[in-house]
Assembly symmetry: C2
Homo-oligomer: 279 residues x 2
């Protein structure tokens, strides 16, 4: 199934909740060892806890790469496990390169056999760094989410620079919309080419939705980073689809005690309920 | 030793040649198997061949990630082997994230025990995505190279956008120079914070050198991508230090036959001679 259609279906069946799998070793709860084995147990436990209320998980590659190749083994096992449990998998790697190197990243994460459904991509290099990913999206029913306006305090240093009557992130949004409109799913009006737009800048989020009408949004910054449900509302298209909202710490580290799994499950359910009440 | 001092020393003792380790499976020479084992044999063979004429190698993470965790095992073994053989190691990962995730990438690649000396970093997220790396550079005598003006055809789509009297990459250059000037090596006038500036835009390279007087340059795009020795000349500081020039395909795939190692060694020597003749 086309990625946008699969995402829309999962959003409707469950919720627009994306659970960020950021298995920060220092924060793993009581009773979980701070090594590859512990990391896998933790990630699988979170997946078990959230699989009925979240539509997708977003494993953050940095936390796996910190354990070298053994961490990468856990990363792939985590992705496989999430897939087996009916979750869409968005690998958060913010990868970016050009030519045959970009092609290597695309093949690494979005090949036909990959348990990963979509990858986050950084656009600093221009469309040379995006097109090889799009080829894999089309061939293998995968997706990408391109960074447009990120949730962090310094995001404006580059992304808000004024160019003529607009700012950098608006310009990038129009480039992405132009590419996205060429790759629409047969059952939705949405593309396999998505955008990352932070919940912490609600005015920009609202305006970017008008600039990128075919683009699914991945919205970070909800919960621990400060974004609330009213902030993310305008990231959706009018029927309540077209966006997934990510929470990492706010769900996975809800409790540092032995009840961590139960607490994560409840936090995901609460967030799902909150978001569904918007539409 | 401070990264800029180590880079300067290696440049003077050997040459400013950086050999890009892009072990593209499809291009591995005759007799090398297209699997993790073959990849490691190839990378070690190239290191043996270039270690006397090049100051550093630049393993490109994408080509290792394509083989999953087994590829990452080869990546770390390659970095260790390069280090043991007296080469500086620049991991080309173009990593970028914020907060504790950025910290995880910094710890993953630039920790105290890491065989990696420097990492390439993408600045789309602003200084939030750079400062955690700088902390590791300072604490562990490591370096970073931040993408400023890249060598690819579409680099201008974002990097050349006009903002007032300047363009995006000039603005980013000034931010990086501001950070770099605070982290100068005791023996050189250069920082542990470097920049990636492509050989394929020689005018920009020349101007960016004036904007970033404390910043070591990593210059890709030499050879196969079209940059020649006169193009890269102005990337150096006047005494012929302050830059390393990368060639990947032009060296490592000089021959697809069984003489690949010999051919790579000769190509690296030739390039070293060319660059040294500039000063």
């Amino acid at each position: 199934m086309h990625f946008a259609d699969a995402l829309t279906k999962a959003t409707k069946e469950k919720s627009p909740v994306c659970v960020g799998l950021d298995p920060n070793l220092q924060k793993l709860p009581e009773g979980i060892s701070r090594d590859p084995e512990g990391m896998l147990i933790f990630c699988k436990g979170i997946i078990d806890a959230v699989k009925d209320s979240a539509c997708c998980v977003k494993p953050q590659l940095a936390y796996f790469e910190i354990l070298g190749w053994e961490g990468m083994k856990v990363f792939w096992e985590t992705c496989e496990y999430a897939k087996e449990n009916g979750l869409l998998v968005i690998a958060d790697g913010k990868r970016n390169d050009i030519g045959s190197t970009c092609d290597a990243y695309a093949e690494a994460y979005l090949n036909e056999e990959s348990p990963i459904d979509a990858l986050t991509v950084c656009p600093y290099l221009g469309t040379d760094g995006i097109k090889p990913f799009i080829e894999r999206c089309t061939a293998n029913e995968k997706g990408i989410f391109v960074l447009i306006k990120t949730s962090n305090p310094s995001s404006g240093e580059l992304q808000d620079l004024p160019i003529g009557d607009e700012v950098v992130h608006e310009h990038m949004a129009q480039i992405i919309e132009g590419l996205a409109a060429q790759h629409i799913g047969p059952e939705t009006n949405l593309s396999c080419i998505g955008a990352v737009v932070g919940a912490t800048y609600p005015e920009e989020l609202k305006y970017l939705r008008t600039l990128m009408s075919h683009v699914p949004f991945l919205i970070p910054g909800f919960g621990a980073q400060g974004g609330g449900k009213e902030d993310v509302k305008h990231g959706f298209v009018p029927d309540g689809t077209g966006a997934v909202v990510n929470s990492s710490r706010g769900i996975i580290f809800s409790s540092s005690g032995t009840d961590w799994q139960d607490a994560a499950g409840k936090a995901a359910e609460k967030m799902a309920k909150e978001l569904k009440s918007l539409f």
